[in-house]
Subunit: 450 residues, 2 copies
């Protein structure tokens, strides 16, 4: 909660007493994000009533700050015409975000009432794949021409500024809407008023295509510290821009997806508390099944060595420690490598370096762990040197295997064009479980000479 508590309570009291006029005044003075937060707190029945009292432009801007569920709720509660007016006022990218979640027949009805230009744009935008640059771009930006003077450019910014998502970076296009240059308002400030835009614009423009991955757009904006990035179509015509605030949302969404994939879940579309039980279950069961079936292999390894276990039952008690440590060691390495690849710090060609680094780290870590464990064994099981040797050697080998497997498999996944994030803890743990048991029992057999 960003707002002060008293203010929030004052608003709530006004709503409760149905003093809508006073409420409207108060809300209009607020920042849109805060006003949206207050609307979210209203009872579902009152929400459209209060929303309708707001000034049209304020309402539309506030609308894009509401949670998706609230947006859907509102759109269905007000008339189609009112809803269309909001869609018309929204920036195209925000409008598309709302429409994408509504049933097709509702979308069709809503688009009937919007302006032809909005309709055309929205239909075009709705066709871009979900993770494409096109899907997050906006069509409202400042176009300039090479022949304009700086003064004319300022004039143009004044005219269209209010309807553009950003005015601080302007794009220069030719008669065929092909991108020719880019100029920032900061650069305009430093130039004489009668300088030609063509003479001071930067003609080495960095751009993305509509079908490029939105992550690529995010990466470029981050790399060059841009406030916005132009998006061109197949014919290199400028069709939209991506702004830095949308990129921040993309980064968080992509990070959330990675967290989910790395914990063996399918990515979810909505925040946890707003996701239904069935959907949560659906997103989780697939990987749990795959991993459960894989774990049966580990079970059969145990079954295979049943005679050995009967011969020396104490061996069983060290299994959780060995497989657990192996799993944790492996997932440490996998996580670092997956994250490094997501941040473009590690590439396919680094596989050898990663392997060598993990091998050295694992020998250090494994030896330290084995020493601590050995001391503990000497205290708990005095006079059992065979056990000390079996467990210590197994521990060092398990950690070494776990860390090299954990470091290398995500890179292998990437080289096979799969998402490295699936090679995270759960899968690595399952693989390492089986491997470490085989190591453990083989060493036991060898040392015990059974």
């Amino acid at each position: 909660m960003e707002m002060e508590k008293e203010l929030f309570e004052e608003l709530t009291a006004l709503a409760a007493n149905k003093e809508y006029r006073a409420l409207k005044e108060k809300l209009s003075e607020l920042n849109k994000a805060d006003a949206a937060e207050f609307l979210e707190s209203l009872p579902p029945k009152q929400l459209p009533v209060v929303f309708r009292t707001l000034h049209k432009e304020f309402a539309a801007e506030l609308f894009s700050y509401l949670a998706q569920e609230t947006q859907e709720q509102l759109i269905t509660a007000i008339t189609d015409k009112e809803a269309s007016a909001i869609i018309d006022e929204l920036y195209v990218d925000d409008a598309v975000d709302v429409l994408e979640e509504l049933p097709a027949n509702v979308v069709k009805k809503l688009l009937q009432h919007t302006s032809p230009e909005t309709r055309r744009l929205i239909n075009q935008f709705l066709n871009y794949p979900e993770s494409s640059a096109g899907s997050i771009m906006t069509a409202e930006f400042v176009h300039l021409k090479k022949e304009m003077t700086v003064n004319q450019a300022f004039e143009r910014i004044r005219q269209v500024g209010l309807d553009s998502e950003t005015v601080y970076t302007c794009y220069v296009t030719d008669a065929n809407r092909r991108l020719e240059g880019v100029i920032t308002v900061r650069r305009l400030f430093l130039a004489d008023l009668d300088t030609l835009i063509g003479d001071i614009m930067d003609d080495d423009v960095i751009f993305v295509h509509t079908y490029d991955d939105r992550e690529e757009a995010a990466r470029i904006i981050g790399r060059y510290d841009f406030l916005s990035l132009p998006v061109v179509d197949q014919e290199n015509r400028l069709v939209g821009i991506i702004t830095i605030d949308d990129v921040m949302d993309v980064i968080q969404e992509e990070n959330t997806e990675d967290f989910e994939r790395m914990a063996a879940m399918l990515p979810s579309q909505r925040p946890y508390l707003k996701t239904g039980v069935w959907e949560l279950a659906k997103n989780r069961i697939l990987w749990l099944l795959v991993l459960m079936i894989s774990a049966m292999i580990t079970g059969s390894v145990l079954g295979h060595y049943q005679n050995l276990i009967q011969f020396m039952p104490i061996l069983v008690t060290f299994i959780p420690m060995l497989t657990g440590t192996g799993g944790n060691a492996g997932s440490q390495s996998a996580t670092m490598v997956i994250r490094g690849m997501a941040l473009d710090e590690i590439e396919g060609k680094d596989m050898g370096r990663v392997f060598w680094k993990e091998l050295r780290v694992s020998l250090l870590v494994g030896t330290a762990l084995a020493l601590v464990n050995c001391i503990r064994l000497m205290i708990t099981y005095p006079g059992e040197p065979m056990v000390y040797i079996i467990v210590s050697v197994s521990l060092v080998l398990t950690v070494a295997l776990a860390k090299t497997i954990g470091g290398v498999l995500p890179i292998v996944a990437k080289l096979c064009k799969a998402d490295p994030a699936i090679m995270a803890s759960p899968l690595i743990t399952t693989i390492v479980d089986a491997v470490s048991l085989i190591v453990y029992f083989s060493i036991s057999l060898k040392i015990l000479g059974v």
Copy 2:
């Protein structure tokens, strides 16, 4: 690699032939991020030579795009005076980032040659804690006064624009440097030239304090879609601003830290490939030790039920499947809740809702898994109804316990003011391992009536 390959090879050839003049020309035409990338590829001996040929301002801007290691290497290779000149040209926040990593005596020497103003600012900035808003703010921004006209404001932006990190949001302060208002250049464009700033500025300014957490600053910028956020000191004097591009770096760093913590590692300061083996080992061993010792508890559970295992050895083969599935189920829930809290979607007061949701999801998922497993058991171990019942009931109970523990523990950690991220897979898995074995053996004893 962003640059075209041919261009890169051309630059490399120029460097190899020591044609520094031509190289300088080519580099000056490049974007700083690209030029920095090329410099990174030079042999360490040639790097300072090429760097010295560059124009001072270009060199300083490019400098902030270099990797930290390269920056340190350069600073020590050039003379103190040259280095001080770069420090002088850098934005204070970038300068501080560089200086923080250098030995104290080098910093002292470098600061002797910088301007007194830079020195004062840098010393002040170096004192902010690493994760504070103060540590990521910059001191270069546009101040305005209430009494100025829009025209005077534009004049001022033209004067100081080149040295400010952003000009698009200007801050209005009183004679004591107290923050009075904020105005965007976009708003200035829409006003008449003789309007007073005091009449059109937004006086309801949202700001942070120097000692607030930098994550809080990032959250506010994301929430309100700001391009920059003002930072005030204890006396509410404006001391700096935080820009959105720095916030993007903060978000990625915080996400990386969460990934590392959630995989039971201490956060590392540098990219994976640039971190030494000893440091990697140091960051990983602590948690591995803690978890290894915890896993011994699970081992002693197994030891406790040794007689039961002797009585029915087949029970052992289902252990990996049970503990593995429990661990995975628990880490799915923990991950979603930890991520939800990082994004402020889940708060302490939602504990009950999370518990109830996880309980229902786990019963759905657990039952489905148990069914699949039961069919498999009927095939592999025909005519063993006791085994089917024991394993199925244990599986459902394990998944239910794992998911509720996994969902609730991160919230408990947060309520205890600890980082929820430590309650991720490794710790949850270790806890669930022990719990699921106790459940499994208790059920076995009960059903077998031993």
